[in-house]
């Protein structure tokens, strides 16, 4: 650890993401202690947790948001500066006709219409995204398991269009898919029931739940989800995104207040916006910020009229998909009780993935799931299917059955997908008579700890909680975003990289999603290539240079 590099761990509430390097030196020690002890300490907890202690409180573990050394931040802004300047230069070349414009053009007949896109909207896409576009939407042609086959594609016009070469890059290690428990599989024996349902039902439903699309297997799934989560009732929906965006408006409306974490997923934001409620945003996982907003809201009431709020809904996620951090559930529950607010917990990434038996963050913290008013989650990730659920008290679910936008207007869930979820949940619960599910959960947790601790040991800056299978590795430099992903693919590792606007401008990162299906060898391979490529400082310059030139190389 150099003097330039402050290790800062989010120990208490005051330590909030990017809130400056206060107490850097005292944390320095604490942080490295945690790092050394963390693995063993929590290991013990985990062993305890495998018993029947469902509501036993456990160590939360820390969310770390280590700050980058100063020179990296400077280089990062410089990187963006160069690319933006270069972008203006190229726009100028395009305007005077020296460079060919590859963009699709408006039809001749409609040239005199108001332009569909404003020019500055497209600046980022045209000049920055286009250079690294090959790192996203990579088509694959196999199961999204621990390894997959990527279809090779090349571009003859600097990423404006792609051409599939017909070749495939086989057995690429999949660090990108949300296949936490390894239920993305195509083993014929496991999928027997899914195949049977397909044979019997076909794939569609052709009607909504409220009309004639309420199949008995939908009800079976909902009972099972409620049982799995340990709550009274549940309802399932065909799309995870829509579960949020189409149900929040049923719960809150005008005169209600939504307090939303600043890093909440788009679907939550959209749902909040569609509801017509007032939205206020608190700092990520910051309890002071939340409490301040709660206090203020109740004391001053609605803006202008000062009438009291009808209700206040706090919206948080279990695991934040870009940061890998875990919600501070016990603290939030305490605040919610104190201020009589309601809690909407989105467990898209955490259900199945955390907690000794995969019941999500409530189990992880040893909290009774009935204390959370609205439990939401998706089936896309841990269950290897698609769709989402909302669970909670019977009154809540009954109300949604009659008032959810999804129940009235959207086609019901596909029967084979429903069967896949049932199969996965049964496996996790162990009611299929195997211990497979339990093993997978343990394996996931081991893999997570292993990857996280190894990467940390090597000095990489990793965000998030030690128990979160979402592992963001900070890259910072815009040039690295593309170069890292390409270099990893060359070594047959598929990673997800994200930069602005999905992250703050100076915090571009790679994201690894750990799966129970990953073997130790696969993880070792990932770790080794990471080190080879990222530790060498000379690469920083080299990447920036390559990035700068790649369009003309």
């Amino acid at each position: 650890m150099t003097s330039l590099k402050y290790r800062r761990v989010n120990v208490s509430d005051e330590h909030h993401l990017r809130n400056g390097a206060l107490k850097a030196h005292s944390d320095l020690k604490q942080g490295s202690n945690n790092l050394k002890n963390g693995y063993h300490v929590t290991e013990k907890v985990q062993k305890n947790g495998n018993g029947d202690s469902f509501y036993q409180p456990r160590v939360r573990g820390e969310d770390s948001f280590e700050e980058a050394p100063m020179y990296v931040a400077v280089m990062t802004y410089m990187g963006y500066g160069i690319v933006i300047l270069f972008g203006y230069f190229r726009d100028f070349l395009r305007a005077v006709g020296l460079e060919k414009c590859h963009q699709a053009q408006e039809r001749e007949e409609q040239k005199d219409f108001v332009p569909l896109y404003q020019d500055f909207e497209n600046f980022y896409k045209r000049n920055l995204y286009m250079r690294v576009r090959d790192n996203w939407n990579r088509p694959i042609c196999s199961l999204p398991g621990p390894v997959f086959d990527v279809m090779e594609r090349v571009s003859d016009d600097y990423n404006w269009t792609f051409r599939l070469t017909g070749k495939t890059i086989e057995n690429v290690i999949n660090m990108g898919s949300y296949n936490y428990l390894g239920f993305a599989e195509n083993n014929v024996d496991f999928l027997k029931t899914v195949a049977e349902e397909t044979r019997q039902y076909g794939v569609g439903v052709c009607s909504t739940r409220q009309e004639l699309g309420n199949l008995s297997i939908h009800e079976k799934l909902e009972r099972l989800v409620a049982e799995f989560l340990g709550v009274e009732s549940a309802m399932a929906f065909g799309m995870g995104f829509a579960t949020n965006s189409m149900n929040i408006p049923a719960l809150v409306g005008k005169g209600c207040l939504i307090l939303s974490d600043e890093l909440n997923h788009t679907s939550l934001i959209l749902g909040a916006r569609l509801s017509g409620a007032t939205i206020r945003v608190f700092k990520h996982n910051n309890m002071q910020s939340l409490e301040k907003l709660l206090k203020e809201a109740i004391c001053s009431g609605q803006p202008r009229t000062h009438r009291g709020w009808k209700k206040i809904l706090i919206m948080v996620e279990g695991i934040y998909s870009m940061e890998g951090s875990l919600v501070r559930l016990p603290e939030i529950l305490a605040l919610k009780k104190k201020y009589k607010a309601y809690l909407y917990l989105d467990e898209a990434h955490s259900i199945g993935a955390v907690g000794p038996t995969g019941r999500g963050v409530t189990e992880h913290f040893g909290v009774d799931p009935n204390e959370v008013d609205v439990l939401m989650g998706t089936f896309t990730k841990s269950f290897g299917a698609t769709g989402g659920y909302i669970a909670g008290k019977k009154e809540l679910v009954d109300y949604l059955r009659s008032h959810s936008h999804s129940a009235v207007y959207a086609t019901a869930m596909s029967p084979p997908v429903v069967e896949q979820i049932i199969r996965a949940i049964k496996c996790i619960m162990g009611v299929d008579g195997t211990t497979e599910g339990k093993q997978q959960i343990r394996q996931l947790s081991e893999n997570t700890r292993y990857l996280r601790s190894r990467l940390k040991e090597m000095g990489f800056i990793i965000y998030g909680n030690q128990d979160s299978p979402v592992v963001p590795l900070l890259l910072y430099l815009p040039g690295k975003v593309g170069a890292f992903s390409r270099a990893m693919l060359k070594r047959k590792i598929g990673v997800v990289v994200v930069g602005f606007p999905a992250t703050p401008i100076a915090e571009a990162r790679a994201r690894f999603c750990v799966s129970a299906a990953h073997t130790r060898e696969m993880l070792d391979k990932v770790i080794n290539y990471n080190t080879q490529h990222l530790t060498d400082l000379s690469y920083l310059l080299w990447y920036s240079f390559v990035f700068f030139l790649n369009c003309y190389s």
């Binding site: 408006e106 999204p144 397909t198 569609g204 004639l212 799309m239 995104f241 009154e395 009235v408 997908v417």
Partner: protein, 485 residues
């Protein structure tokens, strides 16, 4: 003072001209009377105080003490999270379907002929489709475990997009994993705050949600009333002339449905296209009910009217009706469609369509392409049903003869929506006892902008035989006579 003198002397030495002003000022300072100086000093202090004091003193006074705050928090009682729902709420207790919702459907334990699912082409029961889905299941499993951007793009997705584009004869198509989310994501991808959308009053709920998400100005015109639309467009034209600079950046869109799900009639597309070029407005067309139904090859309302598909800026449809799979798609020119790959929220931020559902949709498209006769059959059946239902006492048929999903509304409302619904539900129950599965059209009464009157949905599929249609019509007639008296 000496110091000041020295300074001014220095500056005089350094430069001439301007510096004299400074000297004069200093001299004036000496000459001014003391009371003047004191007054000026006070004024300056006053200004400084004004600048640094808080602007609103009133607020300070109304600040609450900690104790008062605690009392307020103690007193505040929120409404319950959800209002209680009575046990016999009409939309709480769903009909339960056991087994597949195909041509023969088991509703609440009774086997019926299906007149309620949007399985227009009967592809839900197709063995070919099921087989393709099974093959896909064997290869890819079920879920994609990721959004399209992050390794959730499978070869079958690319193939389906290509096939849809080819089928619709457009440059590009984009698929969504949920029918409802398709148009609801597409509209806000283009239309932003400040833009203007002209929309038909009868537009379906997903369009309404898309409009809401876009935060644009929404102007409703009367259902299928082109004069009313033109009136709004003219109004806007006058508005534009007042502020031509602003008008140059306000995007305008007309959003219509090809075949309205709420009214079962077809939009006057050729007139709309004329208005489009006259007033330079783009057209977004939602074709969930008309795709795979209207036109010689099932391409929808553009083919039905012989309108050049390039004149429509964006067509969206779901794959959950005629194609009997799951999901939806948008198609049009690449210039328009490609934008959604970064801006369509339901596309970017949601897991992609399970490959087996995409494979099923591809096979359904194959069947549609191989046998275009199927659309003729469907259209004939639609006409047949429409005709057979005419003259049902007390009920009127709403919709065009070509519509595959008609509405039966009460001729004379009882004056209360709840009672109307009860009467219609009694007819549905009567028919279900006689093996005809029907359903009420469901709406969220408080959320719909223009709530359609209560109705029974009658859905036509190619699998219904002449005899079954006659039986259904007979059954509905009996029920109407008996219940509506």
């Amino acid at each position: 003072m000496k110091h000041a003198h020295a300074q001014s002397r220095d500056s005089v030495k350094m430069a001439a001209g301007q510096q004299w002003v400074l000297v004069e000022m200093v001299q004036a300072f000496y000459e001014a009377p003391a009371y003047h100086l004191i007054l000026e000093g006070i004024l300056i202090l006053w200004i400084i105080r004004l600048l640094f004091s808080k602007t609103y003193k009133l607020q300070e006074r109304s600040d609450l003490t900690e104790k008062e705050k605690e009392e307020l928090i103690e007193e505040w009682q929120p409404e319950p999270l959800v209002p209680p729902v009575s046990k016999d709420h009409p939309s709480l207790n769903y009909d339960v379907v056991t087994g597949p919702p195909s041509h023969k459907i088991i509703v609440n334990g009774k086997e019926c002929i299906n007149f309620a699912s949007f399985n227009f082409l009967g592809l839900l029961d197709s063995e070919r489709v099921k087989l393709k889905a099974l093959l896909s299941l064997k290869k890819y499993g079920v879920g994609t475990c990721g959004p399209r951007g992050f390794y959730g793009t499978f070869d079958v997705h690319l193939e389906l997009e290509e096939r849809l584009a080819k089928f619709m004869r457009t440059e590009e198509a984009i698929i969504y994993s949920y029918g409802f989310a398709t148009i609801a994501s597409a509209i806000p991808a283009y239309s932003k705050r400040g833009d203007i959308i002209f929309v038909d009053e009868a537009a379906c709920f997903s369009i309404q949600k898309g409009l809401q998400a876009s935060r644009s100005f929404v102007k409703h015109f009367k259902h299928n009333d082109m004069e009313d639309l033109e009136r709004l467009l003219k109004e806007q034209e006058i508005e534009d002339q007042k502020n031509p600079r602003k008008a140059r950046v306000i995007r305008r869109f007309i959003v219509v449905e090809g075949l309205y799900i709420n009214t079962a009639d077809i939009c006057p597309l050729p007139d709309l296209v004329k208005l489009k070029y006259k007033y330079k407005v783009r057209i977004f067309l939602e074709e969930s009910m008309s795709f795979g139904v209207l036109g010689e090859h099932g391409r929808g309302v553009t083919e039905h009217f012989g309108v050049n598909i390039d004149d429509i800026d964006l067509i969206s449809a779901n794959m959950e009706n005629a194609l009997a799979s799951i999901g939806g798609f948008c198609c049009g020119r690449s210039f328009v469609i490609d934008h959604q790959r970064l801006s369509g929220q339901g596309y970017c931020f949601s897991a992609s369509l399970p490959p087996m559902l995409a494979s099923a949709a591809i096979e359904a498209l194959n069947i549609m392409e191989e046998d275009p006769g199927i659309f003729r059959v469907l259209q004939d059946k639609c006409k047949h049903v429409h005709k057979a239902l005419q003259g049902t006492p007390g009920l009127k048929v709403v919709g065009e003869p070509l519509a595959p999903a008609l509405h039966l509304q009460l001729e004379n409302s009882t004056g209360s929506r709840t009672n109307d619904l009860k009467l219609l539900r009694a007819i549905v129950d009567y028919s279900m006892d006689r093996q005809i599965a029907l359903t009420l059209a469901r709406y969220l009464e408080k959320e719909e902008r223009f709530l359609p009157p209560p109705s029974i949905r009658v859905v036509v599929t190619v699998e219904q035989t002449q005899e079954e249609i006659e039986r259904a019509a007979q059954c509905i007639r009996e029920a109407a006579v008996k219940i509506l008296k």
